[in-house]
């Protein structure tokens, strides 16, 4: 998608490719704002936003096929452990807004209630670890979660459909699916991950680039982040306008949902941090340690190398 900026196409601008993690949604609003409002152009950049399939961005940014991408902390950690040289350069949301959700009727109010139920997931091992951790917190000790909870991969099926049938609860991003539930008037119980265990308050989503880019062209990274940062700042202040910019760029998106979601999420981009995008070392070390403990990565990974705040604009 992408609107066209007035100065687009002149040869003086540096072409830069950005890859989303999925179809455009309110996580990406700042990017579209930066493009639409000409912030990129002001930095001398011409940004092309591409929307590849799911986790493809990590590999393509790692391979240098794209300059920037959208990913999240768990992917960056796993990818780096596999040798993909990507680096997280900004946290789009200051806190993890995802969690376990279930329709009210399923009577899932705390992790203990998971026992004997069916979880619909994305098919990643990390979800087993989440469930194990939160079960643990709630006093259910188990070596293999699948003894306690039936785990199925619900893939592309959305939360609402999946829970109509055998699935009892799923992992959702509140800012999108949770808002949709509200709009639809479907009452749900939502167990936010970070409230269950602080270690699960990792960064998702994040902006990434690759090591080579940082080394060879830090200027561009800096300029890019300056524009992006401005985009998100604008979105923080103008939820309605920025939602419309998103919908303009991806007109297939539901406008009502986009606005409602934007209203909810704008407050959470920066949240309690000093500036938008800030990443704390503790979050990276703790979560990496947690992933290692749960054997989600096969090799140790140095968390300090996985992220940097150095490209965020000074306040």
């Amino acid at each position: 998608g992408g609107g066209h900026d007035a100065g687009g196409g002149d040869s003086g601008k540096k072409k830069v490719k950005l890859m989303l993690d999925w179809v455009p949604n309110t996580n990406h609003t700042g990017l579209y704002v930066a493009k639409e409002k000409g912030y990129f152009a002001e930095e001398g950049l011409e940004v092309e936003i591409a929307t590849p399939a799911e986790t493809t961005a990590n590999q393509l940014v790692g391979a240098g096929k794209a300059d920037f991408g959208i990913s999240s902390q768990e992917y960056v950690t796993q990818a780096r452990a596999e040798g993909v040289p990507i680096v997280s350069i900004a946290a789009i949301l200051q806190h993890n807004t995802s969690g376990f959700a279930a329709p009210k009727g399923k009577r899932i109010q705390r992790p203990k209630d998971f026992v004997g139920k069916t979880y619909g997931g994305w098919g990643t091992p990390i979800e087993n670890a989440f469930i194990q951790t939160v079960l643990n917190m709630d006093g259910v000790k188990t070596r293999n979660v699948e003894d306690q909870v039936k785990i199925v991969n619900m893939g592309e099926a959305d939360f609402f459909t999946a829970t109509e049938r055998n699935v009892d609860f799923a992992w959702i991003y509140y800012g999108w699916t949770g808002i949709e539930a509200k709009l639809r008037g479907v009452p749900i119980d939502f167990l936010e991950l970070r409230e269950l265990d602080p270690v699960l308050d990792f960064y998702t989503p994040t902006v990434i680039t690759n090591e080579k880019k940082i080394k060879e062209d830090p200027e561009t990274v800096k300029k890019f982040m300056k524009a992006v940062s401005r985009g998100y700042e604008y979105a923080i202040d103008h939820p309605k306008e920025s939602a419309d910019i998103l919908v303009k760029a991806a007109p297939e998106t539901d406008k009502k949902l986009a606005r409602a979601s934007q209203k909810w999420i704008s407050k959470r981009y920066r949240a309690d941090a000093d500036r938008w995008g800030e990443q704390k070392e503790k979050v990276w070390t703790d979560f990496t340690e947690w992933m290692w403990k749960h054997r989600l990565i096969e090799k140790k990974m140095d968390p300090d190398k996985a992220f940097t705040n150095e490209f965020l604009p000074e306040q």
């Binding site: 999925w22 949604n25 591409a50 399939a53 609402f160 297939e252 998106t253 539901d254």
Partner: protein, 266 residues
């Protein structure tokens, strides 16, 4: 003249009727079971949504059609080439088939990063994916058609001193035409969907983009609008192949018509 109109009607009525019946049952089913419209919208809802998104649809149709048609043509070209090679040499037949089958058993989404890495985001990778999806049925059917040519005709032509490529052109190929078109019909059906899947790997426009974005906004009605458009164009492609078959192999319908005529009379 009147007979012609009557025939048109006779040929056109059944598909229209079955499709209408299907839509009716669907509409009734949705209304009676009260299934939520964000799960399964009724045809009436889809139609309404169709009107709303008419402009978007138009904008997104052209790129997909372009990918589908170009990919289909490329696929057929490759298929013909491969079919000829395979038929010319028993060695190649045995040797290439495993690779061909392999090409069909790789989930496209699993190799998405490679495709993008090698071919970028433009038209090319999409055309290649459509070609990859469509060439296979054509190869299999055509090879079977080529190798089932009447051996006596082949021999007769050889007795005239025909080269292998002449045997091909004059016997094997005409004989294989109906099989070739069977494969083409299957391929034509897959063409547009192939383009849609290709767009999921990364595109900024096209029906695939429209579909996936609608789905992500939980807009089931628009998802079905996209599906309707995909189906429509697949039908058009299929119909064109059927017409081409009649045009390219009139003799194959010669006797059939006679016997159909007979059937209808009785």
């Amino acid at each position: 003249m009147r007979r012609r109109v009557k025939k048109r009607f006779r040929d056109g009525a059944p598909p229209v009727l079955t499709v209408l019946l299907f839509l009716l049952v669907w509409e009734a089913g949705v209304r009676l079971t009260g299934i939520e419209r964000w799960l399964l919208p009724a045809p009436s809802g889809i139609a309404a949504s169709f009107a709303d998104s008419w402009e978007l649809i138009q904008r997104h149709t052209w790129p997909t059609l372009q990918e589908a048609v170009l990919g289909f043509l490329l696929g057929i070209g490759v298929a013909l080439l491969l079919a000829v090679l395979i038929q010319l040499s028993a060695w190649l037949r045995r040797g290439i088939y495993p690779l061909l089958i392999g090409s069909q058993t790789v989930p496209i989404i699993a190799v998405a990063p490679l495709l993008i890495l090698w071919f970028g985001y433009g038209l090319l990778p999409k055309v290649l994916i459509v070609a990859l999806v469509t060439f296979f049925p054509v190869v299999v059917s055509t090879v079977d058609g080529l190798s089932s040519a009447d051996p006596d005709m082949v021999r007769l032509l050889r007795s005239m001193g025909a080269k292998e490529w002449q045997v091909f052109r004059m016997v094997r190929f005409p004989h294989a035409l109906p099989s070739f078109f069977s494969g083409m019909k299957i391929a034509a059906t897959y063409g547009v969907l192939g383009a849609v899947i290709a767009e999921w790997l990364g595109a900024s426009e096209g029906l695939g983009v429209f579909l996936i974005r609608s789905q992500n906004s939980f807009a089931a009605d628009r998802v079905f609008v996209a599906i309707t458009v995909i189906t429509f164009w697949s039908l058009v492609l299929f119909g064109l192949v059927c017409l081409a078959a009649r045009w390219a192999a009139p003799w194959a319908y010669l006797r059939k018509e006679d016997s159909w005529k007979g059937e209808e009379k009785r």
